[in-house]
Subunit: 236 residues, 7 copies
């Protein structure tokens, strides 16, 4: 198909191109690919997350732009892509957890939360009056056992032992595939996350790195000192 | 009709072309044709399913992307095409079953479930404000007797003794027509499913294959060992 | 009017062309003309139906694609054209009958059912947000006396002594006009239906033929043996 | 204004052209002009109607396509143009009469019915989301005294002593103007109606003609014998 | 601005052109200018109206197309332009009067009625989903004292001592300006109305003329004899 | 940006151009610039208004087209631009005042009224389904102390000691800036208003001029005699 | 991407371009960049704000156009960009604070207010029927401790120690980065704000400058004398 034809099918999210593609969803994936990458790895008793962001102004309060946030204190959630869309989805996840707890007096697990977010995202790709979300999600935590999902802009949830979203996530995932083993201890998982995240080009520093670990007792975010120690141990 | 004319009629799902065609529905069928194939066969006392998917990352948790899922524990349902749309339809089927059980205190059968899903899909092709679903379905199971339906993107349900959806489903169905007999025992049906699914080109392996059997007591999914045994017996 | 002008008026169902035509409705008629034909004939004490469908896969369960269905057990209804639209209209007819029975404790007759369906179809041609239905209907049965209606994609109901819908229905109707007499006995009517349906080109077989008869005590569909006997008697 | 400019203003019913015209309404009038004509004449104590329709298949049940119908048993109503739209308007008239009778325990008169229908039609020409009706109406009857209205696709009701709608209605009306007198006896009015309807070209026959008379005691439709007698007396 | 640019701004009522104009409203004014003119004049104790319409068929019942109608028996209302739109506005005025009387047990005055109609018209020029009304109004009567308003398609109400709407209303108004005096007796006002209405070209006759007078005791419409007398006295 | 590009962004009120402008709002400002100017000046104990309108027909009842109106008897409000839109906004202001008084048993002040109108106007520039208002407002009066606001088509309210809206308002405002002093006595303020309004070109006369003064006890409009006296004193 | 392609994706806020961008949001940022800049700095016990606006007419009442406003008396809020949109957001913030206080009997903090406003803004970029807001916000105050957020047109909230919005905000922020220290005393923070705001080009004066300080006991706006003193001390 030549450029002119493609253009005819990509101006609305609600129509298929003659070859069965949804261009608006594919363009939303481009928005994701423009966002800083996040790695998530399930370890023996936790899920570890590491995010890379471009150098930020020293005037920003880092907490306000951290990519690793929590849902209900328990689950970790990371976003890549259009920042405001990501925030909207995190909030949607928090509302879901809040309502589930009210309704069933119980915290929703990783799978239920990821699938509820995926439903919400899929609807934005089919129904008129809204564009798709330009953000992908990683949702992980330990409810019974460590689990990790990603949700892409089409609204597909996939469970992973380890994966990445955002810029060059394919290359990062290849690095994970080469080194990942099941039942890693948390510390080994963290170092693997940093090696995969840095890849060939990204220079990790305490300023450009966010780290968090979801354990049975909730999500813990690393402070600057913890991040520096981790970077030194990982020899990056 | 030359390209320029076609383009005039395929930008919305709600209009006919001069020759009475609905292009958006036809393009949604292209989305189905891009998806990995699934075979379904009714045997004497069960319905067997076999799905082929391209090699997956070793880091994916296979259960999260399996194509063969259950409705209410009882029926098997498979999707081909745009993955997020397929998930949405599976969920719609689950909701239907849930509501039927609440209302009539009884599990809905294969026919009722397939037709309810077909109604839902047809509406998406006629009413404005939504695109068609880019996914086809196979729904099968044993409620009284083994039955199998497919539902295509136009919203047409068809009952089959054996059929396939997804990539090259026509060729797979031809293979089934040549070999299918009624009242097959389950094991013979499974081997037929694998032979038809592999065809001339697809190399089946425990990684690329999903297998499930719906019996009177519900849907059973094959684990890796069962899949390996089956592949060896089928000599593929 | 040259092609370019026509195109300007046929992209929405809700506008007239300068010569007072509704192109979307005419295109929906093309969808009907692409569907296998069905003949309906009122006999002395029954209405007979015969449908021709292209050879089907031996794996299809014939009942699931039969063109001759019932409303409320009493009336026969046949569709031609876009299959999923036809199903939607059959269901609409069933709902109408169900509600009428709840409301008046009485089965609706042929005329009331056909007109309710016609209203539903007409609305789809005038109101925005939906396309016309790409299907025509035959509705017949014996409530008091044998009656037969067709409903076309514009939403016009017409009562007939005998008629046809679908591919080459004009030629089939001409054949009926030449031979039809009132108060035919049922058997003669069935043979006339088959002769008209086969015409010059269609080769009728037990596989490509559906036959049903609506009598005062409800709709009866012919099984394979009955169809074979009928074909032999008709000498086709 | 050259063709290209006109085209710019005739694609929606809701906008005026620079010279203050509503093209969609004018095109709906074209749909009316394509329909078979009906003549209505007020006589001393009745309103007579005569409709011409092209030769119909001998298989059609004539009642189902008759152009002269009743509202509430009392008023006569005829339509010309897009058949399904005409039916919709007849039904709207019947609903109006039904509601009026429920509300006021009294049958609505000719004027009230015609004006209610005109309101309904006007709205379809101004509000978005619907096209105009491609049908004109004649409404006549005797409530107190004989009265006759037409309603055109713009939604304008006009009272007439005698008039016509549909194909070549202008020519038919000229014929009526030449011969009409007030307080005609019914029989004379019927013969005038047939002469005007046949004009120079239309060959009236019992098959192509519908005749009805609205008197104080309701609408009476002529059967084939009555139509034949009338044709003979009129010497057409 | 050249033609091509204008076209870009006149296809919807809801947008301004770069020079701050609303083309759809201006085109609706063209629809008014195509309608037969009506003159209204406030006299000492009454408001007089005279309308010119093109020669009508002798078969039309004149009352049904008269341009001078009443609201609530008390006020006179005339329309010029698209006839069906004018009727809709007259009805809107009648509903307003009816509701006011129910609510306040009092007949609404000329000003209140004209302003309520103006609000209704303005909304049609700003909100989407409807086109402007292609009709202007004259509303006049004696509640306390003789008053006369016009309402144009933009929804602006203006009070006049004497004015005209419809075809060549500017020329007619100039004629009125030259001759009008306050506290005219009714008969002088009527003759002035006829002279202004006939202008240089329009030949007034009892067939082409409507005349009405709104006095404190309500609206009186002139019959044919009264119109003939008036024409003779006016020496037209 | 060249013309062709501009055109792409000015057809709907709800989108920004690449340089961050809202063209529909800017075009609505053009509609304001086409309207007769009004000057407002806060004096020591009052707010004075003077409006210029083109010569009107002697047949118009001047009150019906006066530009200086009251809200609740207390505040003065003037509009410039598309007349029907201005009326709609005046009415909106009156409704606001009416509701406030019902709710709080207190008359709303100048600021509250101007801001409520500004909210109403801003919404028309952001939400779909309506165009912006083509009118600007001056709202002034004495509740506690003399205050004066304008509201422009973007929905921005600004408080002024003295300002103008409508045709050549910038030049008029410059004249005010040169001469305005705080705590002017009312008479001096009125003469300043007239001098600024007349500028270099506008010839003020009792026919083309409206004058009103809002004092603590409400709005007073000048009659013809008062206007003549004022014009003479101002030596225009 | 060449100009023509870009144009295809920037006419609606709800679609992505092929490279994953939302042009309408980027254009709204251009509207922000056209607005006068505001600086916000968190000091040891307060948050200081300084705004630059182009020279205003001496007739404007400065309070009515001040850029530094309060929410609930407690928080400071500044806007840059399309003025009417900024006002709308300030009002939204006030409503939020009002509702929170009613619901929880407690004043909402800086973070809660900024995030509520961000949600409101994000929705305007995704859902149909509205354009994005052409305004950015600074929200700051002391609830527990001094905090400062900005909200951009995409709906992203970011917490800062010090930042700027509006014209040349990047350059202003660089100046802040060079000089900012934590726990500045308020006076030092104010002088830093003025130096950063003036930059190389902007000439600050009491007329073009707004200054405000949010302390634990609420927002205080500087009067002209205070601004003059501050300017002198800062030696600008």
């Amino acid at each position: 198909m030549e450029p002119n034809n493609q253009q005819a099918y990509d101006r609305g999210s609600t129509i298929f191109s003659p070859d069965g593609r949804l261009y608006q969803v594919e363009y939303a994936r481009e928005a994701v690919a423009r966002g800083g990458p996040t790695v998530g790895i399930t370890a023996a008793e936790s899920v570890v997350f590491a995010s890379y962001g471009s150098a930020r102004s020293p005037l920003v309060v880092p907490e306000s732009i951290e990519k690793l946030r929590d849902i209900d204190g328990q689950l970790g959630i990371a976003t890549a892509g259009h920042v405001a869309d990501g925030r909207r989805l995190v909030e949607q996840g928090r509302q879901f957890a809040h309502q589930e707890r009210l309704r069933y007096d119980e915290q929703p697990g990783v799978e239920a939360t990821a699938k509820a977010l995926a439903d919400f995202v899929q609807e934005s790709t089919q129904v008129g009056g809204t564009r798709p979300f330009g953000a992908a999600l990683l949702v992980g935590g330990v409810v019974d056992r460590p689990r990790l999902y990603d949700v892409d802009p089409s609204g597909t949830p996939t469970e992973w032992r380890a994966t990445a979203i955002g810029h060059e996530s394919d290359a990062i995932r290849e690095a994970l595939e080469a080194e990942y083993e099941q039942q890693l201890d948390e510390h080994t998982a963290l170092r693997l996350a940093l090696r995969a995240l840095s890849g060939d080009e990204r220079e990790l520093s305490t300023e450009s790195l966010d780290v968090a670990v979801a354990r049975e007792d909730g999500l813990t975010t690393f402070d600057e000192g913890q991040r520096r120690d981790l970077l030194e141990e990982t020899e990056l």
